[in-house]
């Protein structure tokens, strides 16, 4: 292929990989396509904080030469990706989207950065995030917040906001995210992509700027679950530099996707869709329809009696804020107003917690882990909405919303369980809805297999956002 613009759409990682392997597509052409698309629409999307154009072209050329010489490294060789800007990149600015680190250039790659480079990916640049991965869309930071390619007046979710937006708009084929309370799963939901928060300990966090040590998870984001599996294969593995890293055998995630749903026991957490904090009717219906689709594929569907969502929320809030405050306390003392308003409003409340409050939260967490394990006995995966509804507005939302409504995602940061998030439909106004598929500890492959089977049985992957189409139209000219 000599003309990258022949793509009216952008290939998935799996498709591009196949084309590159058979020399039907060159990494250089694919990289140029992505760079053109970034040039066409990212001024309106703000998904990139930095485009590493020169490096990307150099890496793509090297990949092309290596593949031509018969030295293909694997399925990610020559695949253009982006990194959330909390992943350290040697010699490349890593800012956490904050004035506090605006000039920060690491002298070392994060372990995952290095692993993805070794796998042959082409780094297109660093992606927007909520400041230090917490807060929300902020307009008082050195760079504007990422916007949602389905509707630029709406939030793309976060904190891995740039990752979600860039993938949905087809500016990158895959990206990294981090998830401390839902930061991979929220943008996956609001941008209609796939995102995997792996089991705590499966992917190294070494060299990734921390938010809350005991809740932080690094994971892949892409258009499909299969692409996430390909990325996760390269990202996972024990790392002695990460105290939370687990020494476990890493399965072949992509091969595991081949399992079907016959006899798979799926528990729906209906309780979290109703009661004290109900999700919107369209979301509830979408998850119910998804469960029916899974039943049609051979799964056994049942209700699962998880602890109440509101039981998880206070433990999650106390732990995430206390740990984040501990990370930033020294800098907050000397440079308080160099942080954005939303970061300050999110983290400063930790100053009001006592040591005993923190310990009670840790003890509550242990109880919740045990109760969750009991609830999951006899089932293979759980499914539940990933958010109460579709994306919310960038501005003019209720500033107290985070206090009023417990996150549907935080329970799986507290419990460390693996979650694959997939699109499960659209609202009447064409906004995406997302669903979590939750596995047992280190059951990442099963969670992804169920999510993949569902994804393949539906037509949601054929819909792309308006800014995707616009990028295609502009690059085809």
């Amino acid at each position: 292929m000599n003309d990258a613009t022949r793509f009216e759409t952008v290939p998935t990682i799996a498709e591009a990989s196949r084309l590159i392997e058979t020399r039907a597509l060159s990494p250089v052409e694919l990289t140029e396509l992505c760079l053109k698309r970034i040039g066409a629409v990212d001024a309106r999307l703000n998904s990139f904080l930095l485009v590493t154009e020169t490096l990307a072209r150099k890496t793509a050329k090297r990949a092309e030469a290596e593949i031509a010489a018969g030295r293909r490294r694997g399925p990610l060789h020559g695949i253009p990706i982006g990194l959330k800007d909390i992943y350290s990149t040697k010699g490349i600015r890593t800012t956490a989207h904050s004035k506090v680190l605006a000039e920060h250039v690491p002298d070392k790659d994060a372990v995952v950065t290095a692993k993805l480079a070794k796998a042959g990916t082409v780094l297109l640049g660093k992606l927007s995030t909520h400041e230090f991965a917490i807060g929300g869309p902020s307009f008082d930071l050195p760079w504007p917040p990422a916007r949602n390619p389905w509707n630029t007046e709406l939030s793309p979710g976060g904190s891995s906001s740039g990752s979600g937006a860039a993938i949905a708009a087809g500016l990158v084929l895959g990206a990294t995210g981090s998830d401390t309370g839902g930061s991979i799963r929220s943008p996956a939901t609001f941008c209609a992509i796939a995102g995997v928060k792996p089991t705590y300990g499966l992917v190294s966090r070494s060299g990734i700027l921390p938010l809350a040590f005991t809740l932080d998870h690094a994971g892949p984001m892409a258009w499909t679950v299969e692409d996430c599996a390909i990325l996760l294969q390269a990202m996972a593995g024990h790392d002695k530099a990460d105290p939370g890293s687990a020494k476990v055998k890493i399965p072949d995630f992509r091969a595991a996707l081949r399992q079907d749903l016959k006899g798979v026991r799926v528990g729906v957490i209906n309780r979290w869709h109703e009661g004290e904090h109900p999700v919107e009717p369209e979301m509830k219906q979408a998850v119910e329809a998804a469960a029916e689709t899974m039943r049609g594929l051979g799964a056994e569907i049942r209700d699962v009696a998880m602890p109440g969502l509101a039981d998880f929320a206070p433990a999650g809030r106390v732990i995430i804020l206390t740990e984040a405050f501990a990370v930033h306390q020294k800098t907050l003392q000397s440079r308080y107003n160099d942080y954005g308003e939303r970061f300050r409003a999110s983290v400063t409340p930790a100053a009001l917690f006592s040591a005993a409050d923190h310990m009670q939260a840790i003890r509550a967490r242990r109880q919740l882990i045990e109760r969750t394990a009991e609830a999951m006995a006899g089932i293979d995966v759980m499914v539940v909405a990933a958010a109460p509804g579709p994306a919310t507005k960038m501005v003019g939302f209720d500033p107290d919303a985070a206090f009023k409504r417990p996150l549907l995602t935080m329970p799986f940061n507290l419990t460390g369980l693996p979650v694959a998030t997939v699109c499960c439909g659209f609202t009447g106004s064409n906004l995406p809805l997302g669903m979590q598929v939750v596995g047992h500890p280190f059951g990442d492959a099963t969670a992804m297999a169920v999510a993949h089977a569902y994804e393949r049985a539906t037509s949601w992957r054929s819909r792309r956002p308006p800014l995707f189409a616009e990028a295609s139209a502009q690059t085809a000219r």
């Binding site: 206070p314 306390q329 100053a351 009001l352 917690f353 310990m359 009023k404």
Partner: protein, 64 residues
């Protein structure tokens, strides 16, 4: 839903001083306003747990 009853303002100010943070009066006002949500969260978290519920120290050792 109205904002829940905040913590005493003096408590908020003492906590900020202990944390070494210097906030503007407006920033203190805002933290004081939202402190009611935190108080609610802490009430929900509670402190009545069996004594054996503890965060255990765990070791990773090679299998014998």
């Amino acid at each position: 839903m109205s904002t829940p009853e905040p913590m005493p303002r003096a408590h908020v100010e003492v906590c900020l001083e202990r944390a070494g943070l210097k906030l503007s009066p407006d920033q203190v006002d805002e933290l004081h306003r939202v402190s009611g949500y935190l108080r609610q969260a802490l009430e929900r978290l509670g402190s009545d747990r069996p004594m054996e519920i503890e965060p255990a120290l765990t070791f990773k050792v090679a299998a014998p």
